[in-house]
């Protein structure tokens, strides 16, 4: 079972329906107490960095999400949900993120339209199970006004070109993020959700063997 974090910020229904479409069961979780019941987690999000962190704080999510990440179970942040995986966001002042990945989230330099909105192509920087079967230069739907600058170059799995190099997929161990919306990026976005779902299921098999 894949949990989708409901903290009032994000198009949860789209993520849930897209997972259903590719054959995985998902549950929208209104409380962190439900985290123990899921094998994988999706953190969606739209809006502003500080506002999202505040909403997570009010919902009592921050510590449980950190613990979930430490548990080794697959964790995927989408769009703003990816951005808040980092240490610091520079949207309307400096704000602390979850700090599960090192680096900051910064504003686009002048000279381009903001938000970065629409379909951009992916450049695969290194192989990963999340992007299995995804061709280089395939298109995904982005909409964001800030972008990540990971502290560790090896955490960057795929990038997109918007005049600056935008980290599009980041990941380290079990914690991953997509700057685009896989749930809105038919058909390749659905492939990524399939890969994530399979990973969650495989991981589940492993953990039940261990116990």
């Amino acid at each position: 079972m894949i949990g989708i974090v409901d903290y009032g910020r994000g198009n949860l229904r789209s993520v849930e329906k897209a997972l259903e479409k590719v054959g995985f069961e998902a549950t929208i979780m209104a409380s962190p107490t439900e985290l123990s019941t899921v094998n994988g987690l999706i953190l969606p999000g739209v809006g502003a960095f500080a506002d999202a962190m505040q909403a997570l704080g009010q919902g009592g999510w921050i510590e449980p999400l950190t613990q979930f990440a430490r548990s080794g179970r697959p964790f995927l942040g989408i769009c703003l949900g990816m951005q808040i995986l980092f240490e610091i966001g520079e949207e309307h002042g400096e704000h602390a993120g979850l700090g599960l990945l090192t680096g900051r989230v910064v504003k686009f330099p002048r000279g381009r339209k903001v938000p970065h909105m629409g379909w951009n192509s992916l450049r695969l920087e290194q192989p990963s199970h999340l992007l299995e079967g995804i061709p280089n230069e395939s298109y995904f739907y982005f909409v964001h006004s800030y972008y990540a600058e990971p502290g560790e170059k090896k955490d960057i799995v795929a990038t997109s070109d918007y005049g600056v190099v935008v980290p599009a997929v980041v990941g380290k161990d079990n914690v991953w993020g997509a700057q685009f919306h896989p749930e809105k990026s038919s058909p390749w976005g659905l492939q990524i959700l399939t890969n994530f779902g399979k990973w969650v299921n495989e991981d589940d098999t492993l953990s039940s063997h261990r116990s």
Binding site: N11, S14, K17, V46, H116, Y162, S185
Partner: protein, 253 residues
Amino acid sequence: MLSKRIIPCLDVHEGRVVKGTNFVQLRDAGDPVELAALYDQEGADELIFLDITASSDNRETMVDVVRRTAEQVFIPFTIGGGLRTIEDIRRMLRAGADKIALNTSAVQNPRLIQEGAHAFGSQCIVVAIDARTSAPGQWEVYIHGGRTATGKDVLEWAAEAEALGAGEILLTSMDRDGTKIGYELELTRAVSRAVSLPVIASGGVGTLEHLAEGLTLGEADAVLAASIFHYKEYSIEEAKRYLAQRGILVRHS
């Protein structure tokens, strides 16, 4: 690199897609959800549903269309028509819409843009502007489906909408709408230069050449079309192939 978007527009009346040469003669053109799924398969980059009934009694029907679309369509879609309050916006987003287009309500209550952007993020607030030429190189904003002049200058209103937090501008030329002689390129270019937001050109498209012009000479980020796709004059695929041949970057799936 970011590609240019092709956006089919579906006019919805009482839960059905309609098309007609004028507002009197509406012809049923099928189930909006089926049509949306078809456009998704054909490679449309995004969809817009305009609720042309837009009465409050009809709102439930539209919410249902949105909910069913979200189950089958995995590209972004926008809902417009008669949305007046934060609660109206919230319902559509919760039902699965990605963006909301505000037109009359945004002009009458500009704070709605600000409050919507604050509550749900700029990315989901599209300000739709119906523009009509008032003097050479000048355009006036119209509301109520083009029936009421507002005295507002289009370029000023677009800049104000951006300052209030809009994430995108859907620009319709009333002079060109339904004419099939091409987008109003001067207007599109002027608005595109007046704001740093993505601009969707609308009104007047009749050929694939017009789509290309909107994206190049009009400097638009996306082009909206209704009849050329509904009447199957061209498929989305054909449109994309044509644009690619013209050297315009489009998404291929």
